[in-house]
Symmetry: C2
Subunit: 231 residues, 2 copies
Amino acid sequence: MSKIDESLLSALPPFRRLERSQIREILDLATSRRFEEGIAVFSEGLKADRFYLLLDGYIRVVRSTPGGEHVIALHIAPGQLFGIAPAIGRDTYPATAMTAAESIALSWPVSLWQTFVEKYDGFASETYKVVGERMQDLHAQIVELATQAVEQRLASALLRMANQSGRKVDGGVEIAFPVTRQNISDMTGTTLHTVSRLLSAWQKQGIVESTRRHIVVTEPQRLADLSGTAG
Amino acid sequence: MSKIDESLLSALPPFRRLERSQIREILDLATSRRFEEGIAVFSEGLKADRFYLLLDGYIRVVRSTPGGEHVIALHIAPGQLFGIAPAIGRDTYPATAMTAAESIALSWPVSLWQTFVEKYDGFASETYKVVGERMQDLHAQIVELATQAVEQRLASALLRMANQSGRKVDGGVEIAFPVTRQNISDMTGTTLHTVSRLLSAWQKQGIVESTRRHIVVTEPQRLADLSGTAG
DNA sequence: ATTCCTGTTTGCGCAAAAGCAAAGAGAGCC
DNA sequence: GGCTCTCTTTGCTTTTGCGCAAACAGGAAT
């Protein structure tokens, strides 16, 4: 395992208040691993034995139905913790974490969670803040699914991805990881057909630009208008 | 304020591991208050100055959209904490808490949260477990909204209410608080019309029995079949 | 008893989006 | 270059469930 630099962690919320030496301790306890695209880092229902920090890449948090369908609840961007079942008193993972792109993550055994919380100042409060934010996101998604039409949900989903993980390119904002129509329909509770039709229509209007597994939002403002929300 | 008996709290998860004297301390710091039906205990976005424990009654956790619609995300039953913004690092309430029936709740200023967490064994871990369970519920609701048809969502919603707050009566399971068709449509992301139609149909089939603001599930099994989920 | 208010039922037409089906098109592999 | 696989597009049909509208009913207040 290659030696990781302390500066990687020192800027991240959970570790922000720590000394360099403390970060070194934490890093020395971590396992670093690379995951190919399309791999399950861990799966829903399995015993939660490790928690993770995403260094590079993107993770989709997915829940499956008994009927074999699945829903993408949120995306994890680099620098964020995931698989933090212990933080919410669970001993199994509540969802599956799939890599949306090739990814690198640190992980620690859950047995260290309690230690981190007690020993490292700010770790607990920052991680609970993360939990709170995710809850916000879930709430927002429920409201969206319950009240908005497909077109608006799709617009919101694109904006969310563009905001959370967008790269500025000359033509607009590029979503930084591969997305299929099917993926998007899993986020918005619709079908890939409907997504395809809407994206085609928007492309004709110059709002987005998309190729296979790749989307650039060229006019975020018009998408925001379509999404119907102030945000 | 009338004196509250320690035994009220001693069986509840957050306080289960505490000594009687500790419970007394906690109770002495609490404010008890009665709320009429249909009142907002606190509102989305306001400064979170207190956290609550529901002693009696029922609470609906509601989120509103900019467009004036609202969605009922979950119900709180007696014995549960709510308004626990401080647990997730927030200083404003993320949703509105409406009384679904006349209710009585204890509350404490948020400034005491940190004290409770540090001083009382098990308080932190039990409350985080609650947060985890709520997250589970939210996730489940997202999956439901994204993948199930209205009929199945409605069946699930009725079952959820019946399970969480059902009273056994001779004809079946009675939902213990007043619910309107509109309320149910706010839980399932549909319209009161559709809810009314489905309930009428089910009543004809003998699955439910309903009068104004009042529902009895007479055949939970058949509802479960309709809901399409194993649960 | 009368009135008002809130909640409920029901019918009808329509639009949105799902289902079905089939063809096309990049991208990687041999 | 040809092949396969996955992803995407598009046309057509069918269905679901919403919107609108109007009437009805139980309760509470006067």
